[in-house]
Symmetry: C2
Subunit: 190 residues, 2 copies
DNA sequence: GGGTTTCTTGAGCGATCACTCAAGTATATA
DNA sequence: TATATACTTGAGTGATCGCTCAAGAAACCC
């Protein structure tokens, strides 16, 4: 009896993620989404319920992909190798809609309003930090960095540096590659 | 013949700066400004012309204060002392409406839209970077850091780190003081 | 093919957006 | 005090906001 939707829900979420990522929460209107996703208002609300719900789905997708790609990188290059490669990788990725971190942009935009999405972004940032801390711990276990460092503290500093790097990478007057190199070089001195 | 305005224009700009700083460009409505600045629409537009014009004034004020306070700090503590003190100082300043940098927030929000205010924010960030580079140069001249570093490169990395720190300082799950210490400690190893 | 169920469509909802302007009010000079 | 000149007020502009819903179209099961 039922009829299948004509769209690919997962693909729409990914597309919405890129739009929100670039233009932000307030900067993306329903009209924008309807035009880009090729959905009329009725279909949009049948599929996702609300703009905020779709944003939350997009944010979750973004965060999951972030952790997953970091894990994949660690399998290739080892924990320290992954941590050293990530800064360069993130600013060189030309397929990204924008260099800055979507979690950071969301948090910066909505935190002052106590918006639910800001809390979600923070939660996802904690997951990412935990992922970094795991890698630092494994790097210590492997003897790649000195054991007298707190992995959580290293992870927090590293995450903070990455946020700064990725925001700086949006500036066309900045040589972000140099900053990325310097961040990676610092990891060798641990 | 004329009649003086009943408001203090400079104070209103400072107040608007704090509101924009906290809530962003799209997140601040004319209604918000009229309520907080206690101006009816007519007075608002007579005084400032448009929301964007006031935002530009607020941004300029923010940037000027930033450079000025860095210069003052350098007179007290010397170039390297100022650079080392700034991370801690910026996250401990309890009078600030928010920890994150207003230039960074503006740039992140509006750059994808090619908004004039994003270009202005970038220009002000260049001024700030130049200020940092001057301090690094002076620290080299004073023999406080090794001469084999490019001051502009150091300034860019430093500014990037500060942006990350200040964004991280908004997270209540993060010990920003530790990150600030680590940034300052790195300067001693130059 | 008939009947059922879902998806698609798009006009339009009330609220809010940035902004305007004519009328009223207060203060300066003469 | 009279007049000229601003400043203040707030109702109201058209546009856009996120969102609703009734009607029509399409795909499934029997």
């Amino acid at each position: 009896m039922p009829r299948k939707p004509s769209y690919d829900r997962d693909a729409l979420i990914a597309q919405a993620r890129d739009i929100f990522w670039r233009h932000g929460w307030a900067g993306t209107s329903l009209k924008d989404l309807e035009r880009e996703l090729k959905l009329k208002p009725g279909s949009f609300y049948a599929a996702f319920g609300s703009k905020d719900t779709l944003y939350a789905l997009a944010l979750e997708r973004y965060a999951q992909d972030g952790v997953a790609s970091m894990r994949t990188l660690a399998e290739e290059l080892g924990p320290l190798g992954a941590l050293k490669a990530q800064p360069r990788r993130v600013i060189e990725a030309s397929e990204l809609p924008t260099k800055a971190c979507m979690l950071a942009k969301t948090f910066a935009e909505l935190q002052a309003k106590d918006h639910d999405l800001a809390a979600q972004a923070r939660t996802h940032m904690v997951s990412m930090k935990t992922c970094f801390a795991d890698l630092f711990r494994r790097a210590q276990d492997a003897g790649e960095i000195a054991p007298d460092h707190d992995p959580d503290r290293l992870a927090l500093r590293y995450q903070s540096d990455l946020l700064g790097l990725r925001l700086s990478a949006e500036r066309d007057d900045v040589n972000a590659a140099e900053i990325a190199e310097d961040i990676a070089a610092d990891l060798d001195r641990l």
